[in-house]
C-alpha cells in the first residue's frame, strides 16, 4: 500500500454531512495527511455544522469552532501561544469554506500570512455559501446559478469570474501555496504533507463538489471533481517559494462542456455562453502552462 494511504481515521463516521459531500471527504483526507499532532481552528460553515452537534463531535483531534470570519485569526493566536510556551511538534491548521476564505475571512487570512505565522490554511471550496442555502460567494464560478445569482430573462447566473485566492496568497510571498481536488487524493495528501513540513504560512485550496448545491446526483461527486481537472476548469498546481509547478497535467484536455453539463447549476447556459467559458479556461490553461 502507498505510504500516503494511512489507515487511521481521525474523522469519525456518523457525521451529518449530506450523502456524497466533497468537503467532508477533503477533511477526512487532510487529517490522513496531517495526523494527530494538530490543532484545528474551523470557521462556521458546513464542515463545522456537520461535524459538531454539541456535546459531540466527529473530530478526533483538538478542534476549535471559530466564527465565520476569523479562522486565520484564531489559528494565529494558537500558534503564537504554542510558540511562547515553547511547544514544538504541533501544527496549527485553519479550515474554512470559500465564503469564510474569499469573502468575510480574507482580511484575517491576509493578516496571518503577512505576520508569518507557522500554520496551514485550508480552504474547502464548494463554490458558494452552502450551509445557509446556496448563496453566491466571490469563489462561485462565472455562469453558475445560486439562490442569489438567479437565472431568468435578464440574469444568467453569476456575472463575475471566480476570485483567485491562491494567487492572492502567493502574492503575499507565502512559502507554499497549492490547489488540490478530492478526486486526486494522493496529490492532495502529498501537498498537505509538504505544507506541514514547511515553516511559515502555507495555503491549500481544495475543490470540493457539493451534490445539493451544484445540482447533481451524489454518486457522481468524484466524477464531477475529476472532470473539473481533466477539462482545465480547475488546475492542480503548487507554488513553492514563488515557483509554479503544475502537478497533474491532463494528457488531452476534455471540453469544459463535459464538466458543466453534469451539473444543474449550469443547465441554463447556451452554447454561446459555454463557448465563452471555454475561452477563459483555455486562456488560463495557457497562462499556467497546461496543454
Amino acid at each position: 500500500m502507498r505510504e500516503e494511504l494511512v489507515e487511521e481515521e481521525l474523522f469519525a463516521p456518523g457525521h451529518r454531512a449530506c450523502a456524497g459531500c466533497g468537503a467532508t471527504l477533503a477533511v477526512r483526507l487532510a487529517l490522513k495527511a496531517l495526523g494527530k499532532n494538530v490543532i484545528v481552528a474551523n470557521a462556521t460553515g458546513c464542515v463545522e455544522v456537520i461535524s459538531t452537534p454539541y456535546p459531540e463531535t466527529a473530530w478526533r483531534v483538538p478542534w476549535i469552532h471559530a466564527a465565520f470570519e476569523n479562522a486565520a485569526a484564531v489559528a494565529s493566536g494558537v500558534e503564537a501561544a504554542l510558540k511562547s510556551l515553547g511547544r514544538r511538534g504541533v501544527k496549527v491548521v485553519a479550515i474554512a469554506g470559500d465564503g469564510g476564505t474569499a469573502d468575510i475571512g480574507l482580511q484575517a487570512l491576509s493578516g496571518a500570512v503577512e505576520r508569518g505565522h507557522d500554520f496551514i490554511y485550508i480552504c474547502y471550496d464548494n463554490e458558494a455559501y452552502m450551509n445557509t442555502g446556496i448563496q453566491r460567494s466571490s469563489a462561485t464560478p462565472f455562469g453558475a446559478w445560486t439562490t442569489t445569482t438567479p437565472v431568468g430573462r435578464v440574469k444568467r447566473g453569476k456575472d463575475r469570474p471566480k476570485k483567485d485566492v491562491p494567487a492572492i496568497i502567493a502574492a503575499h510571498g507565502a512559502p507554499y501555496v497549492a490547489t488540490a481536488s478530492v478526486a486526486y487524493p494522493i496529490d492532495l495528501i502529498k501537498k498537505l504533507r509538504k505544507a506541514a513540513a514547511t515553516e511559515g504560512p502555507t495555503y491549500i485550496h481544495i475543490h470540493c463538489p457539493c451534490p445539493p448545491g451544484w445540482r447533481f446526483d451524489s454518486d457522481k461527486m468524484i466524477e464531477v471533481a475529476r472532470l473539473a481537472v481533466l477539462s482545465g476548469a480547475w488546475i492542480l498546481y503548487e507554488i513553492k517559494n514563488g515557483r509554479l509547478n503544475v502537478t497533474i497535467k491532463p494528457p488531452k484536455r476534455r471540453p469544459v462542456s463535459d464538466y458543466l453539463k453534469m451539473q444543474g447549476r449550469f443547465k441554463h447556459l447556451t452554447d454561446a455562453e459555454i463557448a465563452e467559458i471555454q475561452r477563459t479556461v483555455d486562456e488560463r490553461c495557457r497562462h499556467l502552462g497546461v496543454g
Binding site: M1, L5, E7, E9, F11, A12, P13, G14, H15, R16, A17, C18, A19, G20, C21, G22, T24, L25, R28, L29, I50, S51, T52, P53, Y54, P55, E56, T57, A58, W59, R60, V182, P185, P211, D217, S218, D219, K220, M221, I222, E223
Partner: protein
C-alpha cells in the same frame, strides 16, 4: 470574593462515532460488494466521505450503521465489484 471555577457545563464536545446518530437511516439504497470481482485497489475506501468502508484482507467491508448510500464507491470501482441495491 468567590473564585470562578469555570463554566457549569463542559465546553468541550467529545469525539464520538455517530455524533449525528445512525446516519444509515437516511439512505434509500445500499452498496453490495462482490468480493470475487474485487481487486483490492482501495478506490472505494479512499473516496468514501462517510468513513463507512474499512479494509480487510478479503477486501472492503461496509459499515451499514453509517453508510449513507451515496453511491460513490459503486461509481468509482474500476472492477465494477460494487452495486447499489434496494434496502
Amino acid at each position: 470574593m468567590k473564585s470562578w471555577r469555570g463554566p457549569p457545563v463542559p465546553v468541550a464536545a467529545r469525539p464520538s462515532v455517530g455524533s449525528s446518530g445512525r446516519t444509515s437511516s437516511w439512505r434509500i439504497q445500499k452498496p453490495v460488494v462482490n468480493l470475487k470481482r474485487c481487486t483490492r485497489c482501495r478506490m472505494c475506501w479512499i473516496f468514501c466521505p462517510d468513513v463507512a468502508i474499512s479494509f480487510t484482507k478479503r477486501g472492503p467491508a461496509i459499515n451499514h450503521d453509517y453508510c449513507k448510500g451515496c453511491g460513490i464507491c459503486a461509481n468509482e470501482c474500476p472492477a465494477k465489484a460494487i452495486t447499489m441495491e434496494a434496502l
